[in-house]
């Protein structure tokens, strides 16, 4: 069973008089343990596809099966729970809460889970994850006291705190310099290889795409190419 299965997904935005079709029939399957780059020019529909896969947006037509279950037509509360349990998000601009310690940032998604997690346990999990991304000594730091690379690592720890099967990264290296880009990509690669985390990474940087094992290129609302590559370290 594939982790993600998209069947003929379309998305049309209704802009008053004009109807804008952004996705024109996407069919895509992602197996467990893949490391995919989703590339394409601006306006190619990759962000919309990303939002659809991330259960933030609903497709106009088509089916979206996550672990074999149709999720695109579930209630918004059910989809909120899916976002919480099944996936982690990493954003280009990190999206950390201002004036909040790294530890609290990482613990935040645990508050929205199905069952309540004791504070002690939540803290233990968050500490372990922060240690894993190399921020053991910066747990009390707020975003303004962290560098870009460190902020993205906090965001990564936050995305992983619920042990989701896959990670959605929207231009995760877009705001980072080349050195930290390499560090973050290395971290992704390790998570993918050692923990079997499925990663879907949106980027328009060919170098970043080259670091992934499979590259899906989109043009004008359709998948133009879908190719495996070696997954070379950048």
């Amino acid at each position: 069973m594939n982790l993600i299965e998209l069947r003929n997904i379309t998305k049309t935005f209704d802009l008053g008089e004009v109807k804008l079709q952004v996705l024109k029939g996407i069919t895509l399957a992602v197996a467990h343990g893949e490391f995919i780059a989703l590339t394409g020019a601006s306006g190619s529909g990759k962000s919309t596809l990303m939002n659809t896969i991330g259960c933030l947006d609903r497709p106009t037509t088509g089916d979206y099966l996550l672990e074999g279950v149709e999720v695109s037509r579930q209630s918004s509360n059910a989809r909120a729970l899916i976002r919480n349990q099944k996936m982690g998000f990493v954003f280009q601009n990190f999206n950390l809460l201002a004036r909040t310690s790294a530890l609290a940032q990482v613990m935040m998604p645990l508050a929205y889970g199905e069952r309540h997690i004791q504070r002690k346990e939540a803290q233990k999990r968050a500490e372990a994850l922060l240690a894993r991304v190399g921020l053991a000594d910066r747990m009390d730091h707020t975003p303004s006291q962290l560098s870009g690379g460190q902020q993205q690592r906090v965001a990564l720890a936050r995305a992983l705190v619920n042990n989701p099967p896959f990670l959605l990264a929207d231009e995760p290296t877009g705001n980072l310099d080349s050195k930290t880009t390499v560090e973050v990509l290395e971290m992704f690669r390790q998570l993918n290889e050692k923990d079997g985390l499925t990663i879907l990474l949106v980027t328009h940087d060919p170098k970043v795409a080259a670091a992934c094992k499979r590259v899906v290129k989109m043009t004008d609302g359709l998948i133009e190419s879908d190719a495996m590559n070696g997954g070379n370290a950048p």
Partner: protein, 455 residues
């Protein structure tokens, strides 16, 4: 329940991230609640002080007088029949729930009192029971009241007012002195507090108060008729020997001949000149009057349509003044309370709306990591409620502080008001929910994609 506590703690932590703004936001509520409490306390104190002043004038007091006797077409005027008895007074006390205290009063015609080589005629000498001091709210400055036992025993004791004390004893202590009243020795056991003149200008301190039994049976020495003011009535109604119309019993119960021979005075018919009753509160005066009227109708066997043999008078004018004073103060406070709390609430709503806009990205992020619309709603609502509750608590401190300062520096009377505190905390939480709901609802309706993209 636990869940709510967690949400409130989270809200508290969120507010702590911007202490200055939270403090300024809640300032409206602090001032609102603080002023409500200070106003309520100062207002309550003033109302109580005004009420006390007025009720010391006898505002809650009801006076029951016997009705008018008429003989040969000539009316003798109010108080000229002998229809009120100490039993009536007791019955009023027992059976009228709106009446707090009752005292029968026997007025004695101006009587001279003598001490050593001085003498004085008090303007009022009354025989009564120990309850009169409660009815008239009259304290002693030295000595003690006479007791129910003194009344039963017709003890030769009396209390004197300030004027009498001054005239007879000068600067010497009055308590313990023996005075004479119509050749009966009375021991002064207490001096009454200064009351000044009453509303008609009569000196209320020019008085001697003694047990009515003493006045009736020892001093006037007249057991079958009235004493003092009641004497006129004796002539008017003694003839028919029938006090109550329609009553089959005579004025004096039938006494066996042998018994009558043995003790001529074993049964005494006694009347009093007035019954003073105190209503439990100013509001209950009309009810008390009705209860007393009904009771006396029953006791005096007066059928519907027949003329009453008694009159009840109250201090309507004083009572009305008091009611309007209290009402005005209360309304004023209500207005201030409402205005300041609404202003505070609008302040909270304003800042919460700004906060929602400012934290759009945070809301989007929280939704992306799994927050439901309800979670967002609860979060913002909780923040508003925490702000208001905190404002409420600080307001209580501020209000208490203000009213204590007013008491300390201005010397105004202040009365603690638990109601004010409870109400203002409840209202501030209510304001938080009311004015926090719209911003919170707005936050929960945000589209996560839009919110995440918001700059």
């Amino acid at each position: 329940m636990m869940n709510w506590i967690r949400i409130l703690i989270a809200a508290f932590n969120a507010l702590r991230r911007n202490v200055l703004r939270s403090a300024l936001t809640t300032l409206g509520i602090v001032i609102g609640v603080g002023s409500v409490i200070a106003m309520m306390e100062v207002g309550n104190g003033s109302t109580a002080a005004v009420q006390q002043t007025i009720s010391s004038l006898g505002a809650n007091m009801l006076m029951v007088f016997p009705g008018a006797a008429a003989s040969g077409g000539i009316s003798f005027g109010s108080g000229s029949t002998m229809t009120l008895t100490p039993g009536d007074a007791e019955a009023i006390f027992k059976e009228c729930p709106s009446v707090r205290a009752v005292a029968p009063v026997v007025r004695m015609r101006t009587t001279q009192v003598v001490y050593g080589n001085r003498n004085w005629v008090p303007s009022e000498t009354s025989g009564t029971t120990e309850t009169i001091f409660d009815v008239r709210q009259w304290a002693v400055v030295s000595g003690a009241y006479f007791t129910a036992r003194d009344v039963r025993n017709a003890a030769c004791v009396c209390l004197v007012g300030q004027t009498v004390s001054q005239q007879l004893f000068g600067r010497e202590p009055a308590v313990g002195k023996q005075i004479r009243m119509q050749n009966v020795n009375l021991r002064v056991i207490g001096v009454l507090e200064k009351k000044g003149s009453n509303m008609m200008g009569r000196d209320q301190d020019d008085t001697v108060v003694l047990p009515w039994t003493t006045a009736k049976f020892r001093i006037s020495g007249n057991s079958s008729g009235g004493s003092g003011g009641s004497n006129t009535a004796a002539a008017a109604s003694a003839g028919n020997h029938k006090t109550y119309p329609g009553s089959s019993t005579g004025l004096y119960p039938a006494v066996a001949a042998t018994r009558a021979q043995n003790s001529a005075l074993s049964v005494r018919f006694v009347n009093v000149d007035q019954i003073m009753a105190s209503a439990a509160s100013a509001e209950e005066i009309p009810q008390a009057m009705e209860e007393i009227t009904n009771l006396l109708h029953e006791r005096h066997r007066i059928r519907a349509g027949e003329l009453d043999d008694f009159n009840i008078r109250d201090m309507t004018e004083v009572g009305n003044t008091m009611a309007s004073v209290t009402e005005t103060i209360t309304r004023l406070l209500m207005a201030v309370a409402a205005i300041s709390l609404v202003v505070g609430g609008v302040g909270i709503m304003n800042i919460m709306l700004v906060s929602v806009t400012e934290r759009t990205k945070e809301i989007g992020l929280r939704m992306a990591v799994g927050a439901k619309a309800g979670d967002i709603l609860r979060q913002f609502l909780a923040e508003a409620v925490v702000l208001c509750l905190f404002g409420g608590l600080m307001g209580i401190a501020l209000g208490r502080g203000c009213s204590l300062a007013v008491q300390e520096f201005l010397g105004w009377p202040v009365q603690n008001s638990v109601t004010a505190i409870v109400v203002s905390v409840a209202v501030s939480a209510g304001v938080g929910i009311l004015f926090g709901f719209y911003p919170a609802w707005k936050a929960s309706r945000l589209d996560p994609i839009e919110a995440l993209r918001y700059e």
